[in-house]
Amino acid sequence: MKPADTAGPPEVVCTDLGKVFSVGGKTVEAVQPFDLSIAAGQTTALVGPSGCGKSTLLRLVAGLDLPSSGTVRIGGDTPRAVSQRAGLAIAFQDAALLPWLTVRQNVALALKLARRPVEPDRVTALIDLVGLGPFADTRPAELSGGMRQRAAIARCLITEPGLLLLDEPFGAVDELTRARLNQDLPALWQKRGTTTLLVTHSITEAVTLSDRVIVLSPRPARVIADFAIDPDANDADFRAMVAAVTNALVLGGESVRTP
């Protein structure tokens, strides 16, 4: 079993990846077969209208659902193999913390699930780092939405995964808290150069956090625009980028020009 972090962050390659659900006898195409590769160490945002299949795409990459066609390879391995060595971690809009465990126990649980020794000092240090120090021994029910998301992010990071999958992680918190979380947390994984796949419907969030923004069409999801984000952009460039992404979303894939 090789530790996830020795090899560096992995590249994610989806080949001919598609997903068809059957609901009550009818088949619904959630993701139209497509190819996508996400460079190692980059943060890539998937934006698209509600229900377009972007969460499904993330679940396919995480190995939580099996694709109807095509393959996902994470650093050349299947999602299942990567899961088994705790090489990936996922966070949802619902923090999905276990309500009967404290923040500390929730974070430590990830280490137990990853079959790694629980180092209490490291757990405490990470909880401090996400700003929950005073609340380490508090149960989720007593925390605010933003605090719960911080705890969920800490749980993701404690195993130092090479691939981080974020499904609307800050979708359920208010605008102000969201802005603060966006300011504080991404630095934690971007410093380590983790490959990150972020699903969001906030265009500003996508442009601010990512190296690359992929715009998806309404269901069935397919790529309609693909923007590289210049990290050194000034305010005017940034606004132009947000406008371009918005434009791509509104036009739904018709005559999109990449700036």
Partner: protein, 510 residues
Amino acid sequence: MLLALGLWQALALLTSGTFILAGPVAVGGHILGNAPLLVRAALTTLQSAAIGFVIGNGLAIALAVIAISLPRLERLVSGLALVLFCLPFVATGPILRVIHGVGDGPQIALAALATYYTSYLCLMVGLRAAPASWLDLVRSYGRGRFTELVRVRAMAAMPYFIAGLQIGAPAAFLGAMIGEFTGAERGLGVLSIRAMRALDVDMSWAIATLAAVIATLAFWFFGWLGRRLDAAPPPLLIAPRQDATSPSAGAGLLAALVQLVAITALVLALWIGLMEAFGLSPFFAKRPQDVFAFLVLAPDAAANRSVLLDAFWQTLSLTVPGYFFGLVLGAGLAVVMVLRPAMAATALPVAIALRSIPIVTTAPLIVLALGRGAVGTITIVAVMIFFPTLAACLEGMRRTPRPVLDIFDSYAAPPWQRLVHAQLPAMAPAFFAAARMAVPASLLAATTAEWLATGTGMGSLMALTASTSNYALLWSAIVLLAVTASIAYGLVQLLERRILKTFASEQLAL
């Protein structure tokens, strides 16, 4: 389904000649051969059950509305409801029979008693399930509590109420059958007693099968009704939340004592009041003072007590092991099924269907199979508790939040880790709800088995005293069993609150 039928037939063939088991072929043939008789009996029982069901639910609605409208009285009402639920059918049945004479009265009364408590619990949870914002909306238009109750709370309670009806419908059928055991003229219960006395194995199994089918159909009907009304099944049968404020330990103890005294006083007042109001003869309608005299003041009080307690210990020594066996087996099988998900998918509907079978009606069969010793009675108690526990535990674990399980999957965590860290804690509220409801059920099963089959313990004592008109002893038995059941129920609830405080605070607060 076919597999189960095949297994049943094979078992029957294996045990043929032992007068224990009739296979599906024999049972089917017997039902067809005696169709007019069986259908007439079933319709009679069904009618009693239906009337009792309506009355029981009316009672449940009345109690719940009182408790919700007058929050100060809630604990009192809940306590009274519990004591009423803990009355042993084996004793109340014969007494109702004496009061009412021949006819449908006792069947209907027992059907109502068997039904109302689950409905009451479900209503209490449901009437509180309305989000505060809905209630605020009503108040913002200047409307009062009545509008709140009718427009908002009643609507929010609907899915919970239907879930209660679903569990209550088979119970009503069971109550009606037990009522018929006490000496009705017609009905499945009467046929059941007759078949057992005549060692008519085919008939016994035919009746049990028919009762099971009817109870299961009733269960399905209310499930279908719930879906038709678009009332999604509510989370669970949870302990009704008491006050939102939790007093300090000392004050809590004092308040609990005051409550206990108040409930006792209320029960005694109702006991005396009802008897006087209906002018019931003191010969068979013993008052509390008669019971006290019988057990404490009379010259032979010590002898009376020892007769009662001997039977009591006998019953308890069978009920307690049966209770724990049933709980452990139910929860254990649920865990096994969850570890083998393919099994759970097929087993859940079967378990839910089997839960609705009036198990006590099969008591004679189990005793027939396992003999009149301790094993038979313990098995009946365990079986009575096993199916509801299994169904509740499976349902509880099924409610583990999907994202939580996804987190476990994203680490490729093995099934036992999901079980220990997520599914077992998620199961806890359902398990305790089942354990609570199983307390009176286990005493009912044990006393019914003793009454109908083994001839030992409280069940037999109560049947005997009813037939020899030793009513003081009978009433003492009722008091002892009702108090025991209420205390045991309270203890389970106390343990439940302790554990859920840690494991499912958010579910307690529902």
